[in-house]
Structure formats: C-alpha cells, structure tokens
C-alpha cells in the first residue's frame, strides 16, 4: 500500500536527522622530515620563560612544547621538559595586580607574585634526564656550546647532565636528534636589555656568531637531522624598549620649571610647562648628563617610584643601565640585522627551515589578527608579550609556533597542523 511506503520513507528520513555533515579529516604528515626525536634549542621562549621567570604552567606553553605537541601528530615522539615544581620558579615571576605607588596612587601594574618558591625548584634534576627541551633562558649561542655552563646559568645548572662539565650542545646531540629548532635572541638583545651598560654582555660580533652557529649546526646535524632556525626580533618590536616615553616628565608648575632651568640652564638644558625629556646619565658628555632625545629609549625596568618621588630624571640623572641611547640603539639594530643575515644564510646553505620572527613581530607592531582577536606589541594591552616586556606570553609563543610550523611545512613538504592561537592564554587580569 502506498501510504505504508510513504510512512516508511518518512521514517527513514527522520533517522537521518541526527547526522551531522561529514568532512574529510585532516591528515598530519612529516613530509621529508623525521620528527621522532625532536630537540629544542634556544633561549627563554624556547624554554617557556615569561613574566620574568621560568615557571611550571608556562612551560606547558613553551615554544618547544607547543611544537612538540603538534609534531606528535606527525610522527613526533615524547618530549620531556625540566619542569619547575610550581608557578614561582626561582621567585622572579610577575603578575598583574594592584600596586600602590610612592604617592599613594593605586593602579593596575605588574607586581611580584606573592608566595615562596618550592625549594625543590633549586635542586638539580639532571639525573631524571635526558630532556628534549634544551632551551635555556639567557643563553647566547656561545653558551649553548660552553662546557660547564651550569655553573653560570642556574636554569641550565638545574637539568644539565653535569653542571660543572656538560654543555647544552653536548647533552642535546648525545640524544641523536632527528629534528631540532634553534631560536636564541640573546646575542643581540642581552646587550640592549641592560641598556648597553654591561661590557660583559656586549653584542656578539658577526664572525664569532657565524662560527658558533656553524658549530651548533654541525653537532646537531651530525646524523642528518633536519631542523628550523629563527631570527632575532627588532628592539622596536619589544615593549621592554618602547613602553616608557622619553618625555614623560610632565611639569605643571612654573616654579618647578624655573627651578630646573636655574639648575640646568648653565649646562644647556631647558624645561617648560608640559611634557619634557628626562635627564639621563651620559658618560660621554662633559657634565656626565644630558636630556634624553626623541628616539632614545627608557627601559621597562626603570623604577617608576624613583621617577615620581626619588627625583630621578630631574634632580638625579637616570642611570645609564635604564637607558638605550641613540648610539646603542643603532649598534643593537645593526647587530640584529647582521646576525639575522647570518641565520638566514645558514638556513639556506644547510637546507633548514627558516622562521622570520623579526618580520612577524614587525607586522605585529601595527596589529595582527587571528580568529577575531587583534594583537599588538604594546605592553599588556597588546596581548602578545608577557609582563617582562621581552618574552612573549603563551599566545605569542603559539603564534611563533605557527610561524615555525609554516616554515617546516614549506621546507619539508610536511603537513604539521597549526595550533589554534586563542586556545593559549594571554595576560590574566585580576
């Protein structure tokens, strides 16, 4: 009977209702790379350093771990990190909180995270190795090669196979990596973050840098490993250098203006109502001080209370270590572009993938958008950098990880899946 036939047909169609439309599943593939033993080399962001410290919850979002997690879908193996035991690390971590300044004004600002670090954070964990995340905060390329670095750098000392004799490169290459990443920014950035003040932290000259890089690559690639290199961001992209305005000395009283002009007038400095450049230390000037010029940088570490209440920048020149002057800026930027040329050339000649982090963060200065969220390099509000202003936060690491993944996919014909950027946290507000 026809009605039966029709009701059967309707019944059948009704069953279909639960069916969601099917899509072809994504298949990850390593291409011509072998991701089974991945070793991460580099400085802070590779290790998971952010907010002024290396701490446990952020280590989950280290560049090394984000990449390893994605690699695991394309034949990657296990990836062990020398985890801190808590979120305080060695105790330098900063969080956003309400800070009350010397004038009694409360505002939202980075503050030291309250609490006492677990003493276990300071104990060696090298015996539990080997570790595949060999990223060490503060390590220049020379440090990666240096035997006994563990004595000088506590972050390596913790997990080094032998703090007094082992080197990062030794512990890394001993694991016979099939794939590696190398991203250190310290050969140029360390000099700048100290205001160019500390001679011991000078910029690494190109010939040395080239030699160190070649030595590292030779050791890592001895068994035919493939890998990815990344370059150094411009200091203009780092909020550590761009947040404190050079002319935030705001004078509202004529009496104060007159006082400063009386004191400094004879030395050629002048002040007026409104915004003025701060007075900084300058060892090359006959007086030992001058006013900072537009384009010169005051560093994020400059103590704000000393400016507001301690007479810094007016009665006392701002110490050199908080200032990157025009010459130092030029030296740093020249070094960055020269070292980046070396990195690009090495990637080219060794057939390695190359991630242009410098370009990515340059674009981020104007804003980059992922999945309806726009991020910039502004401090805190930009959403990309952690509270130390130098290291990316988890979201920033995820963005760099995708850049690495794109470079790897292009270079090796691989299909490593990108991460979903907004699954990674930015700065948390109270």
């Amino acid at each position: 009977m026809r009605t039966t036939y029709f009701s059967a047909l309707f019944g059948l169609l009704f069953i279909l209702v639960s069916c969601e439309p099917k899509m072809e599943e994504f298949k990850a593939d390593p291409g011509s790379a072998d991701l089974s033993k991945y070793i991460a080399l580099g400085s802070g962001m590779t290790a998971g350093f952010a907010d002024g410290e290396l701490y446990k919850s952020m280590q989950a979002f280290s560049l090394g771990n984000i990449l390893a997690t994605q690699f695991s879908q394309a034949g990657g193996g296990s990836f062990k990190q020398p985890l801190m035991l808590d979120d305080l690390g060695f105790g330098q971590r900063r969080v956003l909180g309400i800070a009350t300044d010397c004038q009694g004004v409360s505002s939202l600002a980075p503050i030291a995270m309250p609490g006492t670090p677990n003493p276990g954070n300071f104990l060696p964990v090298g015996a539990q190795g080997p570790y595949q995340n060999m990223g060490v905060p503060g390590s220049k390329l020379l440090h990666i090669l240096a035997p006994g670095l563990g004595v000088l750098n506590p972050y390596f000392g913790r997990f080094s196979s032998n703090p007094t004799t082992a080197s990062i490169i030794g512990d890394a290459s001993a694991q016979n990596p099939t794939f590696f990443s190398l991203w250190s920014v310290e050969d140029a950035i360390w000099f700048a973050k100290d205001g160019g003040y500390n001679v011991a932290d000078s910029l690494t000259p190109v010939p040395q840098f080239t030699a160190y890089l070649n030595n590292i690559l030779m050791a890592m690639m001895a068994n035919g490993a493939k890998g990815v290199l990344a370059n150094i961001p411009d200091i203009m992209s780092l909020p550590y250098f761009t947040t404190v305005p050079y002319n935030s000395l705001v004078l509202t009283e004529q009496a104060k203006v007159d006082l400063l002009n009386a004191a400094y007038g004879p030395y050629g400095l002048s002040f007026s109502l409104g915004a003025n450049p701060w007075v900084i230390q300058d060892l090359t000037s006959p007086t030992g001080f001058r006013q900072i010029q537009a384009g010169e940088m005051l560093l994020l570490t400059l103590p704000q209370d000393s400016l507001k209440c301690g007479g810094w920048g007016t009665l006392k020149p701002i110490p050199h270590k908080y200032v990157l002057d025009a010459g130092e800026i030029a030296a740093t930027r020249n070094a960055i572009s020269a070292l980046n040329a070396v990195i690009a050339e090495a990637a080219q000649s060794k057939g390695l993938a190359y991630a242009d982090v410098n370009l990515l963060l340059k674009q981020a200065e104007q804003g980059i958008t992922f999945d309806a969220v726009t991020l910039t390099t502004s401090f805190v509000s930009g959403g990309l950098f952690s509270l130390d202003g130098l290291h990316l936060n988890a979201k920033g690491n995820a963005i760099v990880a995708n850049l690495f993944i794109d470079a790897i996919n292009t270079r090796y014909g691989a299909s490593v899946p990108r991460v979903v950027i907004n699954d990674y946290p930015g700065i948390a507000f109270p």
């Binding site: 026809r2 009605t3 029709f6 047909l9 309707f10 169609l13 009704f14 279909l16 209702v17 069916c19 969601e20 439309p21 099917k22 899509m23 072809e24 599943e25 994504f26 990850a28 879908q73 969080v95 956003l96 309400i98 939202l108 958008t369 992922f370 999945d371 309806a372 969220v373 726009t374 910039t376 805190v380 509000s381 959403g383 993944i405 996919n409 299909s415 490593v416 899946p417 990108r418 979903v420 907004n422 699954d423 946290p425 930015g426 700065i427 948390a428 507000f429 109270p430």
Partner: protein, 428 residues
C-alpha cells in the same frame, strides 16, 4: 589599560528558532512555511508547497497562497479557509579550520520551530480577505562557548514574526491581484567571547539582546491565460528592523570593568531582504501537476552590521562588521500527483545560490550553495479537511571560506532536516 576595540559585531543567522506554543494560539487552522536557504531566510510558509520544492508563486494551494501570492487569494475555491502548520527545523553546521589544522567543530543548534497560520474569507465574487502569521526569517546557531570562533560568535538566535492582513481582487476569471500589509516583529539575542582573560581563567563575554518591529508589504499578481496554466509574480518588500534600546551585558575581569561599561544599550539595524518572485504551474492532466519558481532576493541590503553602543570607551568601541552580501537567486521545481480523492503526494527540489562572499563568510551565517529535496503528502479524510505532511532535506555544499576582517576561516558544511505538519480546513 587600554584594550583596543573588542566587542561584538555579528548577528546574522539563518533559520528560525521559536519559542513554541504561545504564538500558535493565535493560529487559525492550517499550515505553511517557506524555507529559503540564502542568508537567514526561512522558506516554510506552507506544508503543501514545502512538499513540492517550496514552489507557490504560480500555484494556488489553499490559504497559504496569502503568503505565496496575494493575487491568487481571490481564486481560492472555498468561502472560508484556514491553514496551520509547523516545521521543526534541525540544522547542523560542521567546521574544519583552515588547513593545516586538526581543529574541527560543529554546532549544537536548538530545534527551530518556524510556523505559519492563515485564515481567508471570500467576501464576494471579486473580493477576498485574509490574514496570515508566519516566520519568514530566523536562525538559531550555537557553536558553544569555547570553540575557536568564539570571539566572532558563540550563539545567536534571530526570530521574526510577520503578521500580514491581505486583500485580493479578482479582476476577471484570468487575473487576480492582491496586496498584504506586513507588520514585522523581530527579536535577536547573541553572545560572543571578549578577548580579556581573568585570573580565574575566565574569558570576557558580551551578551546582546533586543526586540523591535517594522512594516512592509507583500504584493502579487496571479494570471491564468488558459485553464491548465497558472502564472504568478510577486514582490515582497525589504523590512528593515531598527533596534534602539538593545541591552548589552558585558562580563569582564573586575579591573577592566570601567573599560566595558555594563549594563549598556546599543542600537543596530538588520535588514530582512525583500524579493521578486516569478512562478508558474501546469496541470499535465487530472492527476498530475508540475510547477516552478524563480526568486531573486535583495540580499545586497545587508551591507554591514553595526552595533552602536550608548556608552563607548577606548576598549568598547562601536562595532562594524562588513557583510557585503550579494543578491541571490533560487530555482525551485516541484510536482504533485493525485493518487485518489483522499491522497495527494508531492516531490520537488531547489537550488539556492550563496548570498555571502567567500571573504566575508562569518560562522553566524551558514551560507552555501544549497540543494533542497522535498517530499509531501496530503490526506483528505473528509472533504473539508486536509492533513499535510512534508519533509525537506537541505544539503549545503562544502565551502572553503574566510571572514577576512577577523582572519577566521575554514571549511563549512551545512545540512538541515525539516519535517513539517499541517492541517487545512475549508468551509463552503
């Protein structure tokens, strides 16, 4: 702290969800709906029409003709007619993020309940009157709170109810004209995540809600050059829903509360596009009838969606989301076969072209090339009564698209299953 330009844009679903019950009480007797898949238009205004590919511009099929072609109303045979129908709508959208990515998501949409109700009366030889209540636009899309596109949309529900009193005049035995005034009520609610993170691990959220009303019209001409052939042409006006006092609730971490003033109000404007529709039907013989419709829908009126907040800050600026929809066309075809005096069976299908450009595809609007396949059945247990059922399966072709202002994209695939039930009652 200045968190730049967050908050909201977005509202533009498709497919209707309705709070069941109450409105059905207004209802009069039998059925109709119209489901059109471009944009957020719903095309389920008559069960009989739904069964045969949703055609009806050139086909007089009971009281729902009031919606499909007001000009045909004066050709309805019975003196009084009533029709009531409902079409529970189950839609799904699957998403695969732009490759290479292993990220997939799918919607968990609540059941939509488009409905339609009509009463008609023939006053004299020439003049017929009627009123219809139906739900021509709507949408209910729920992607969940945590999905990758949450900063564009988490969930959205758009509902519209049109009330259309109509007059139809039979010029002669071949020609009828008609026009209906449309009173439109619209309601929208949506939520999206705000990209600010609390130390409790919770992201911010914006919830927007509002209702409004507007006016429009629906006019048509019905022409029968020969007894076996019926032609129709209709024009439905664009109805622009303007909302002045929408409520915005913004939840953000405590220290950012002053940047996101809440409660807040907003104004917004959502145009419900009009269309020109041409259709015809032909009685092949006593048992068999075929017909076709072509619709041209003015989606270009939906150029951008702007939320204008009453209280702005540097963090909470007015939001402007370009939509840049383009007009689309729908081609429909269907047929009816009379098995006996108690049973009519129907089948049909349609092709609906996309209204959303590849670069401006936002996940709140599952738009695609859509193919609809329909079946229908009417049972006439007594001469005055039809019991109508229909089934519509909508298959959206996979699209690889992006909402470029937000840099969010991937592959989307849409489908919907829409059973429909209705009754038609006649008094001579």
């Amino acid at each position: 702290m200045l968190i730049e330009k967050y908050v909201t844009s977005a509202l533009s679903p498709k497919f209707l969800s309705m709070k069941r019950t109450s409105l059905l009480i207004i209802a009069l007797a039998c059925s109709a709906f119209l489901l059109k898949a471009g944009g957020f238009q719903v095309g389920l205004q008559g069960q009989k029409q739904t069964g045969m590919g949703l055609i009806g511009t050139g086909l007089t099929l009971g009281p729902s003709t009031l919606f499909f072609n007001p000009g045909g109303l004066s050709f309805l045979a019975p003196k009084y007619g009533a029709e009531l129908g409902i079409s529970p709508l189950m839609s799904n959208v699957s998403f695969q993020k732009t490759l290479p990515s292993a990220y997939e998501a799918s919607t968990d949409n609540p059941l939509g309940t488009p409905f339609a109700a009509y009463v008609t009366a023939r006053m004299n030889e020439k003049l017929s009157l009627g009123v219809g209540v139906y739900t021509p636009f709507g949408s209910s899309t729920n992607w969940g709170e945590d999905w990758a596109g949450r900063f564009l949309i988490q969930d959205i529900s758009l509902l519209s109810i049109f009330v259309q009193p109509t007059v139809s005049y039979k010029v002669n035995d071949k020609l009828g004209i008609g026009i209906g005034l449309v009173y439109a009520y619209g309601k929208v609610s949506l939520s999206r995540a705000l990209p600010v993170l609390g130390q409790d691990g919770k992201e911010g959220r914006a919830e927007l809600e509002g209702a409004t009303n507007a006016w429009g019209f629906n006019a048509g001409i019905s022409y029968r050059p020969v007894p076996k052939l019926e032609l129709g042409l209709t024009y439905r006006s664009t109805v622009t829903m303007e909302m002045d006092e929408g409520e915005a609730t913004l939840s953000v971490p405590l220290t950012l509360a002053s940047n996101f003033p809440s409660p807040n109000t907003f104004s917004a404007k959502l145009p419900l596009p009009g269309s020109v529709n041409l259709g015809g039907s032909y009685k092949v013989n006593d048992k068999f009838l075929i017909g076709a419709d072509i619709h041209y829908v003015f989606w270009h009126v939906y150029d951008s969606l702007i939320f204008d907040f009453e209280k702005n800050t540097s963090s909470l600026q007015d939001s402007r989301s370009p939509k840049l929809l383009k007009d689309n066309m729908i081609f429909r075809i269907g047929g009816q076969y009379t098995l006996n005096e108690k049973l009519n069976v129907r089948a049909g299908g349609y092709y609906d072209s996309p209204a959303v450009e590849d670069d401006y595809y936002s996940p709140e609007t599952p738009d695609a090339v859509k193919i609809g396949l329909t079946l229908g059945l009417s049972w006439t247990p007594m001469p005055d009564l039809d019991v109508d059922v229909s089934f519509l399966y909508v298959m959206g072709l996979e699209r690889d698209v992006t909402y470029s202002p937000a840099q969010f994209g991937g592959k989307y695939k849409y489908n919907a299953y829409i059973p429909g039930f209705g009754i038609t009652y006649r008094i001579n």
